[in-house]
């Protein structure tokens, strides 16, 4: 239908958006929001890492910077069209693999720090026993999905069964382990006396839970509803991660000070 001739002929068409219009629009918008949130997250966590003097806190801020940077990389690859080759597939999947590995490392460090901060050093849902098997499971699932991405387009493996099995293990195992970690992290947050740490861990736990839900949604058939839900959960996860970055420490707000009320400024410096 030619809609270029008259404004009146084009407007009714625009007023009745089809599912084809809405889903990509939501997807693009959520990608933009996610990118902005994550750029701010990278910037602020890097600045906090510079501001901290204590090694433990500096390291926590650097972990957050590493996670947000890997997510930013993952978001940016979404805007790039890679060729359908083994290398192209690997470039698409690598940032997600990096995000999952860094998330697991960060969560593990955070639960251990929270356990140390707990006066009774209680183990959160037996995390000290689960962390290694959990990592092996996640690493195994990631290896399968990477192998699938690398080998199937190259023609070395053409079995649809192989792809299905690799994908099923990935969407079954990774969200399960990350979901468990999210619950463990929330439990450890409840046991720490440090209010700032508690807030930070809670935000991190909710962010991880949303991320695990996004990964679990990969298993469901791609419909408009699930696509929009996935975008919403992705933005929620990144927003919570941004809040986790901002709650690493108590931030003050600089109040404007007039020269008259600042009698002890160092001479010659202002």
């Amino acid at each position: 239908m030619d809609t270029s001739g008259s404004l009146f002929r084009t407007r009714p068409w625009r007023w009745c958006p089809t599912s084809f219009d809405v889903t990509p629009a939501v997807n693009t918008l959520s990608s933009l929001v996610a990118t902005v949130l994550i750029v701010l997250g990278v910037w602020r966590s890097a600045q906090m890492a510079r501001g901290f003097v204590d090694r433990v806190y500096k390291s926590k801020a650097l972990w957050m910077a590493a996670l947000t940077s890997s997510i930013l990389l993952s978001e940016l690859t979404g805007f790039i069209q890679f060729p359908s080759t083994a290398l192209g597939s690997l470039l698409v999947i690598s940032p997600l693999v990096l995000v999952i590995i860094v998330s697991y490392g960060l969560v593990d460090r955070t639960i251990i720090v929270a356990m140390r901060a707990d006066f009774f050093h209680r183990d959160a849902l037996g995390w000290t026993k689960v962390r290694l098997p959990g990592f092996v499971l996640v690493a195994g699932a990631l290896c399968l999905i990477v192998a699938d991405s690398a080998l199937v387009p190259s023609g070395a493996f053409t079995s649809a069964l192989w792809s299905t099995v690799a994908f099923a293990i990935f969407v079954g195992v990774v969200p399960l382990v990350l979901g468990y970690a999210a619950i463990a992290i929330v439990v450890s947050a409840r046991r720490t006396a440090d209010r700032t740490l508690k807030r930070h861990i809670l935000f991190l736990g909710v962010s991880l839970a949303c991320f695990a839900a996004v990964l679990a949604l990969f298993a469901l058939p791609s419909t408009d509803l699930f696509d929009i839900l996935e975008d919403a959960l992705n933005v929620a996860s990144l927003y919570m991660l941004y809040r986790a970055v901002m709650s690493l420490t108590l931030l003050g707000r600089v109040e404007k000070v007039t020269e008259a009320s600042h009698p002890h400024s160092v001479s010659g410096s202002r």
Binding site: L40, W43, R44, Q47, M48, G51, F52, V53, D54, R55, V56, Y57, K58, A193, D194, R195, T196, L197, T249, L250, L251, G252, R253, V254, E255, K256, V257, S261, H262, P263, H264, S265, V266, S269, R270
Partner: protein
Amino acid sequence: MRLVSTGVPSLDHILGDDGYPDRSSILVVGPPGIGKEVLGYWFIRSGLVQGDYCLYATHRPVSDVLRDMKGVGIGTERVPEWLSSSGSPVKCDLRDATSISFNIKEAVHRNKDRRVRVATDVLSPLLVLNPLESMYSYWSQLLSDLKLQYSVLFALAEDGMHPPNTLTTMEQLFDGVIEMKLYEQGLAITPLLRVKKMLGLPPLHGYFRFTVSNTAMEVVPHVV
């Protein structure tokens, strides 16, 4: 009024060229990880260089504190007397607040002919473990006893570990309060220091940017 160097020349300059007032108690408030201890290390180091008697009362092991001191460029050839959880002849037991107070007062009294510097990080753990009312009288008693001697007590408090009214109550007991925090200004996050009150000085409303390297600590005015 005689003054006691903070150990950081630029901070001495801000506080009227000579540092903390003598026979005073200074509270440094800030969130964990910001570098409050560094200010305490430089204060103690300055005392050791000047031949003052220095006592460090900490809930951490001596080895941890020494490692931190080396990390910020403070040599450990000369060390203070310790009152710590481990690695010192006299132990610092957080469950026994009375013994901590007794040991500090006893050490200060033993050195009554010298200038004494006491730095401690036990305030926050004690506040977590004890009711505010009893801690108020505990610190009030300890601070007034120490003021009878030629001494300066330097205490650290963790921001974010206590309800806001707890820190406000404790700040009221001290002669000087310094706040160290990361401040958000637009998109930038900067570590700043603020002198909330200081005995003998009018209120200082400015912010000061501080940097800690592995050789020195610097405090410079921050232009808002």
